[in-house]
Symmetry: C2
Subunit: 321 residues, 2 copies
């Protein structure tokens, strides 16, 4: 008997400041997560592929200004936005990724197009934009990615007025649109899904780290670090201090532990997030699903925006532990 199709998503992990949260802000996050889960769930309920469901969910996460990807992405040290995304199909192990794009409205759609039509897996910077343009994807003026909340985070991170704000009790309210501690800002968005045909897929997208140096590439667009899917094991999307996820091959490691040491999805994910990443001070979490429909959403930070929805059931969303 086939497992019920299911989708799980995340909207970033970090030191989510409870003090900066109020019931209205929390409700806004829950509503955004639920709406996106319902959209992904619908794709799966209609018999759509896991690949289509994760692409659609991440597209919506990119469009939502609450999360650090697409519209709402953080600022680089140069005051620009550089976006990364990846997608992987567990049925074929095919993958697509773009890094450092600045004008593609939905980086995950560019990654998906790489998967669909290119013999390559990854394009970066100007070459990635040229590919996306040739594919007819929607381009936007870089100002599209601007949001006031992210701009304030950036101003604070670059120290323009940081000293003052650091001891300013109003700081936490200035960021009410994003209660993840802006000094430890490493949001990413992602989705994993199991479809009615038993196939798995994963997708991840990010604006990176606030005030990052131009050209920095994190784990989000890297297959095996921020995104991995294999029907034989699991689909994984990660979020956190990207560099540590890259050095640990965090997403692929969950799969490798399942394949090579017979670990369950839960054991493997727990080991990666709670044991291996902390060894190198890696902070964050992941969402993962296996072919039996098991879903895990572990994180080693104070919170992670997350949720999952099985076809035919009410979506579940959460923020804190």
């Amino acid at each position: 008997m086939k497992a019920t199709p299911v989708i799980a998503i995340h909207g970033g992990a970090g030191t989510i400041l409870r003090s900066a949260m109020n019931s209205e802000t929390e409700a806004r996050y829950h509503a955004a997560l639920e709406g996106i889960l319902l959209a992904g769930q619908r794709v799966l309920a209609d018999g759509g592929s896991a690949l289509d469901a994760v692409t659609e969910a991440v597209r919506l996460l990119e469009d939502c200004p609450l999360f650090n990807a697409g519209h709402g992405a953080v600022f680089t040290a140069a005051g620009t936005h550089e976006l990364d995304a990846s997608v992987m199909d567990g049925a074929t192990l095919e993958a697509g990724a773009v890094s450092c794009v600045t004008r593609v409205k939905n980086p995950v759609l560019a990654a998906r197009r790489v998967l669909d039509v290119s013999e390559h897996v990854m394009f970066t910077a100007a070459g990635a934009e040229a590919f996306a343009q040739a594919q007819g994807l929607e381009f936007v003026d870089p100002s599209y990615f601007y949001t006031e909340a992210r701009h304030q985070q950036w101003m604070k991170a670059r120290g323009t007025s940081g000293t003052m704000l650091d001891h300013d009790a109003t700081t936490k309210f200035a960021f009410e649109n994003d209660p993840i501690d802006p000094d430890k800002k490493f949001g990413t968005v992602g989705a994993v899904a199991l479809d009615a045909h038993g196939h798995l897929a994963a997708a991840t997208s990010t604006g990176g780290i606030t005030n990052k140096q131009a050209g920095r590439v994190g784990d989000a667009p890297l297959i095996g670090a921020g995104c991995y899917a294999n029907d034989a094991t699991c689909a994984v999307s990660t979020t956190g201090t990207g560099e540590m996820f890259m050095r640990m091959l965090a997403a692929y490691d969950v799969s490798a532990q399942m394949e090579y040491r017979g670990a369950s999805l839960e054991d493997a994910s727990h080991d990666v997030v709670m044991n291996r990443l902390p060894r190198i001070e890696g902070r964050g979490g992941l969402v993962a699903v296996d072919a039996k429909g098991n879903v895990v959403l572990p994180f080693n930070t104070e919170g992670m925006y997350r949720g999952f929805a099985r076809v035919g059931e009410t979506p579940v969303t959460a923020i804190y532990r």
Copy 2:
């Protein structure tokens, strides 16, 4: 008792045309490989780190026009050179990488600097060049990377005069500087080493694929795909059809099989190169070393420029099976 320090290198794998080889060309490759091995061996013999040995070996491979990295890199479809490199320290799991640089003389030195001084792991394109420039690394005019042999390969690959050359018996002599079948050109260079302190390291560098689309990133700069090192398991540098190595996390998979299923270096490497990669038509090979000083150099193509040198012993070099 500590194992004898050892370094292993590769200069690319592919359908090396025996018909295009003559004893003089072969001798030139053997001499180049041996000279570079001796340089790496010297670093290790002097008590230097595996990290320094692989960095030095790959720097020399980049400088040598026979190999597809640095001077001698292949041309993109745009007629330019885009270079990628990575390095990883098995003692700390720290890593550095750059992709899509066009004017840094030695991409591996930029990757090493990322490892040494940056909180990040990877920089791409203009941001990578800005980082390298700020670090005082040597820059060159893009024409530095030009070699006549690669230019001819590119002219052929882009079809300018391809039809004629395809049936022209002189073709093979036109490429006598690089007898790897230019139509299946996927050279990379790399090194792995074990030092006297028991530490492992790996480094990889490439010009990519002849006539590749601008912005394409292959496995060479990706930690876990083209390069991986962990004192607890092994150090690996790969070469081949990069996309398949990315989708298979080929370098990290060797380590994962050793750690999670107790495979030997030889068994794990054999499985990756002879079983897993061919499943998705992945062609190429890798060099790897473990903490006991075991060295393997498997490949599933007709040939791979390769060699290894233990401290106190004569280097061994080879081209064909």
